[in-house]
């Protein structure tokens, strides 16, 4: 990789981290309503899968995949306004956090029934296939959602038609409080791929190099018409399920162990070994990401709050005018 790309990837990791940290602070300050679902610690997964996508590819992020929004092209200002429940957010205040996608940038908004976006991604990939468009759909899901029927139905259909879709399992070891061993009886979620007739791969989700290598192959395979891949990224969320969750179900030792495998620290070690001027890069990046997030918060703060009656808007694309009938 070129120095420029190495630095660019670093910038994304840091921007996501800054954004995550800031939303946690805003939550603690009581400035955010509703749930805040930090993906801190999982940045390498979203950067690795989204960075090399084309603008006309589609992603189906999770509630924790704020980073996927940013890397795929969502405006940080509007993303922050979305989290604030303001009119400039993607949902114009109708729902919070990541339920409002940014469709112009190929980012689909998830529902809270996790895994439910996988059939949607498969359907979209079916369109790419029948129209012979060399586009791909990337469907993220947690290892908890892997227990849902929607995940099975989507993968089965994708296998039947060899659809251009990549299923990305972000296995952060806990579905809220439920650990892997109470979620499934297989060693890896990716082991199930064989049951759908395509390849499954397990990757260290904190190692950006490893993620990018696996993601690149899976995306190429989909784009060339060689069918889907299930990639399981083993990673870890530093925070609880949401900010109010103290995550007492995990040991301190476990958390520290994972913090010592931090995806950003690992990337900094790599940058150092490449003999780049890491001190200068760090300083420059810190200034840039701080500024971007500051501007996003200022924008979201200043964005108008929707009025009550706006609740009735955007329900139907073709509202029925009873008077005209």
């Amino acid at each position: 990789m070129t120095e420029q790309k190495d630095r660019e990837l670093y910038r994304w990791l840091r921007l996501i981290r800054e954004f995550e940290d800031r939303t946690s602070v805003l939550d603690k300050q009581g400035k955010l309503m509703g749930g805040v679902y930090s993906g801190k610690g999982q940045e390498a997964v979203t950067v690795g899968f989204c960075h090399d996508l084309r603008w006309d590819d589609w992603i189906f992020p999770l509630h924790r995949d704020l980073g996927a929004f940013l890397v795929k092209g969502a405006d940080p200002k509007r993303l922050m306004a979305q989290i604030f429940g303001k009119r400039d957010g993607f949902a114009k205040g109708k729902d919070s956090y990541l339920h409002g996608g940014d469709l112009a940038n190929g980012i689909f908004g998830a529902t809270s029934c996790l895994g439910a976006t996988l059939p949607v991604a498969a359907g979209m990939a079916y369109k790419f296939k029948i129209r012979k468009e060399d586009r791909v759909a990337i469907a993220f899901f947690g290892e908890g959602a892997s227990s849902r029927g929607d995940v099975h139905e989507a993968m089965n259909f994708a296998g039947v038609h060899r659809l251009p879709v990549v299923f990305v399992c972000e296995n952060n070891f806990y579905a809220y409080s439920t650990p892997n061993e109470l979620q499934f009886g297989v060693d890896n979620v990716a082991d199930r791929a064989v049951g759908y007739g395509f390849k499954g791969e397990v990757v260290n989700g904190n190692d950006l190099h490893a993620v990018m290598k696996t993601a690149g192959k899976a995306i190429d395979r989909a784009r060339k018409g060689d069918g889907p891949t299930l990639v399981e990224c083993k990673t870890y969320r530093y925070h609880g399920h949401s900010e109010h969750d103290r995550a007492d179900y995990r040991s301190e030792e476990e958390v520290i162990t994972w913090e010592s495998r931090d995806p950003i620290s690992l990337w900094e070690i790599y940058l150092e070994k490449r003999k780049y001027d890491i001190a200068a890069i760090r300083k420059e990046t810190t200034e840039e990401v701080t500024r971007i997030v500051e501007e996003a918060v200022a924008f979201a703060d200043g964005s108008p709050a929707p009025e009550g009656h706006e609740a009735m808007e955007d329900l139907y694309a073709m509202p029925i005018d009873m008077e005209a009938l």
Partner: protein, 324 residues
């Protein structure tokens, strides 16, 4: 031309598949077999395997995939082999499709149609007789239609396919081959949201939809010397054409609501409540409802007849209401 109700459905899909290359038909056995009830006979041969798609037995996927296609500007028709199985796709309908536009702040439409055979009277038993329309009338973001005639079956389905919102289309399997009508050879549409005045009358109004429309019409004709009945076929259940409903009730002062779905939590409760509130001064009797008994639809003929409304029960209810 003279067509059955199911042929009208087939024609609507055939014409829309031919008219717009973004229209697809997806469902279990809709392709090679032409559908369990033959609603899509010949369509795969004519429009191709890419567009008339035999799907795995995965109702949630069928709806979810439809949402993904809709975001890409496609207009999928999604068949439930029996409408009883729509419950397997419930989350994708109410949480994914119905909220799609709203949760994206109006960034997209969701032009999907979910259709399938509903209704009893055919000894289908518990899982081939259901009328689950009320579940969906409680969901903002959906439109719900239930045609009673071949003319409406075709015109409403074509409108549903061209509509930019998710439409649930309840076809009644009892009517599939039991009714035959002359319909225009040239293209026509039936607007979603508009009820049909099936018969004018002065004494009382019967509001109904789906298969019971035919039993109500027969009762109205048979009782013509006794009582002058006005019959309204709602056709669209979400949103309901309140202007037509209230206009009729204000004229006759008496109303009976008839549906084949169960009484408790059915559409009739909503219609009755609106009439009670908005037409109170004009009412000359209680707002009455006749619906299936609050039990599952059983298999054995005597039990099924006991549970579902029929012409005899309708006649009895009309007499009771007319006596006020």
């Amino acid at each position: 031309m003279l067509v059955t109700y199911i042929e009208a459905i087939r024609q609507a899909m055939d014409e829309e598949l031919a008219r717009d290359r973004n229209v697809l038909l997806m469902g279990e056995d809709v392709g090679v077999l032409g559908g369990a009830f033959k609603a899509s006979t010949g369509l795969q041969e004519k429009h191709g395997t890419d567009r008339v798609v035999d799907m795995p037995i995965s109702e949630s996927l069928i709806v979810g995939a439809g949402v993904g296609l809709a975001v890409q500007g496609m207009r999928p028709i999604l068949e439930m082999q029996f409408i009883d199985f729509i419950s397997c796709g419930f989350d994708q309908i109410v949480n994914s499709a119905a909220t799609l536009r709203y949760r994206h702040g109006g960034q997209t439409a969701c032009p999907i149609v979910i259709r399938g055979p509903s209704g009893g009277g055919v000894h289908g038993g518990l899982y081939h007789s259901q009328n689950p329309e009320a579940w969906f009338c409680h969901v903002p973001g959906l439109k719900v239609v239930a045609p009673a005639t071949a003319y409406d079956a075709k015109g409403l389905l074509k409108s549903a396919i061209r509509d930019d919102d998710p439409v649930i289309y309840f076809e009644h399997k009892f009517l599939y081959r039991r009714i035959k009508e002359e319909i225009p050879a040239e293209e026509y549409l039936v607007p979603i949201g508009k009820a049909a005045l099936r018969k004018e009358g002065r004494d009382l109004t019967v509001i109904t939809y789906g298969a019971p429309v035919h039993a109500v019409m027969k009762a109205a004709r048979d009782m013509a010397t006794e009582v002058d009945i006005e019959v309204i076929d709602l056709r669209t259940l979400l949103p309901i054409d309140w202007a037509t409903v209230k206009g009729s009730v204000r004229k006759t002062g008496k109303v009976l609501i008839v549906h084949e779905a169960r009484l408790t939590g059915g559409i009739g409760g909503e219609v009755a409540a609106r009439i009670a509130q908005d037409c109170f001064e004009e009412l000359d009797g209680p707002v009455m409802r006749l619906a299936a008994r609050d039990v599952h639809t059983p298999f054995a003929p005597a039990m099924e007849a006991y549970v579902l409304p029929n012409q005899e029960k309708i006649t009895e209810a009309i007499r009771k209401l007319a006596a006020y």
